[in-house]
Every structure is written in structure tokens, then in C-alpha cells.
Amino acid sequence: MGANIDLIFKIAGVGILTAVLHSLLKHAGKEDQAQLATLAGVAIVLMWVIDLLGKLFDQVKTVFRLF
């Protein structure tokens, strides 16, 4: 339970950081780098979430004896 709350805060932190970076780069005139920064943020978060999803499906498979 504890570990998962840390993950949620980490994801939210990356999200806010990406948003700030995006607007920072936009005001600095580097529009394309802003898009790349957003993409990088989303990719990192997606990696964590997919890892968590894999864990969930494995546990569900063992508990419900699926497959």
C-alpha cells in the first residue's frame, strides 16, 4: 500500500514537471522541444503504469487461476 502511494506521487510529480517544462519551453520560443519534453514525460509515466499493470495482471492470474 505504502509503495503504491509513492508511485502515485512520483507520477503526479513527473506530470506537473512536464507541464511546467512545456510552458517554460513554449515561452522561450522553442515550441518543438516543448512537445518533445511532454512526450518524454508521458513516456516515463506510461512505463511505470504499464509495469504496475503487468503486476496486477500477474496477481489476478494467480488468484483467479486464469490461463
Binding site: I5, G15, A19, L56, F64, R65, L66
Partner: protein
């Protein structure tokens, strides 16, 4: 006291999603998906214990394990499909969610066919 932890966790996640929604809606969705997964992982242990009790009862009543296995599979499929459909609905993709639910219904139907056949056979024996 599990329930206070879970409710606290859910509220914190909801607030984080609201904050993120105005800046990065896609990451907000990912936060809500991660929170949903974490909540269910926390409760999965209890579900496992209940299922163990079911197994012991069915072994003692020497019910055929195939039926209980099928029921457990159906519950598992129903849960995962519902999880996926709700996430899609949160993301605003109603059509996608209904496709997932349709696929889940068909999978469950396929799993239920042997049980239905068994019931019919028994009926035939009794009536025939």
C-alpha cells in the same frame, strides 16, 4: 484498519488527478489508472483468501473442480474487462469500452458452455 487507508489513498489520487487534468489530461488519466490498480492490488490478498476457502469447501463437498475453476475464471475475466472498460470510459472512449465488454461477454459465454452442457446432460438423464 484497511478501509481508512484505502479511502485516504483514493481521495489523494482524486485530488492529484484534478490538479493534473488542467495541464496534462493524458497524465491525469494515467494517474487514475495507477491509483485504480494500486487499490485493487491492496485488496487482492483478501480475495485470494476467500477463494482458498471456496476451494476447501468444494473439495470437502467433492464438487467437481472443473466447475469452480470455470466460475473463478469467469469472475477474473469479468473483473479485468470491467477494469479496462471503465478506464476507457474515463478517457472518453465509450465505443472502445463497449467493445471490451462485448469481447468479455463472448469469452464468458465460451467458458460457460461446458457447464451448460453438463446441466443439459443431467436433465436428459433424469427426464429421458
Amino acid at each position: 484498519m484497511e478501509i481508512t487507508q484505502i479511502v485516504g489513498f483514493g481521495l489523494v489520487a482524486a485530488v492529484l488527478v484534478i490538479i493534473l487534468r488542467q495541464y496534462k489530461p493524458e497524465i491525469a488519466l494515467l494517474v487514475s489508472v495507477a491509483a485504480g490498480i494500486a487499490l485493487f492490488l491492496a485488496i487482492l490478498g483478501k480475495i485470494g483468501a476467500v477463494i482458498e476457502v471456496l476451494h476447501d469447501l468444494s473439495r470437502r463437498a467433492n464438487v467437481n473442480m472443473v466447475y469452480l475453476g470455470a466460475i473463478l475464471k469467469i469472475v477474473g475475466i469479468a473483473y479485468i474487462a470491467d477494469f479496462g472498460a471503465q478506464v476507457c470510459r474515463d478517457a472518453g472512449e465509450g465505443a472502445l469500452a463497449s467493445k471490451i465488454e462485448l469481447a468479455a461477454k463472448i469469452l464468458i459465454l465460451v467458458l460457460a458452455i461446458p457447464i451448460v452442457m453438463a446441466v443439459l446432460d443431467i436433465l436428459m438423464k433424469i427426464l429421458g
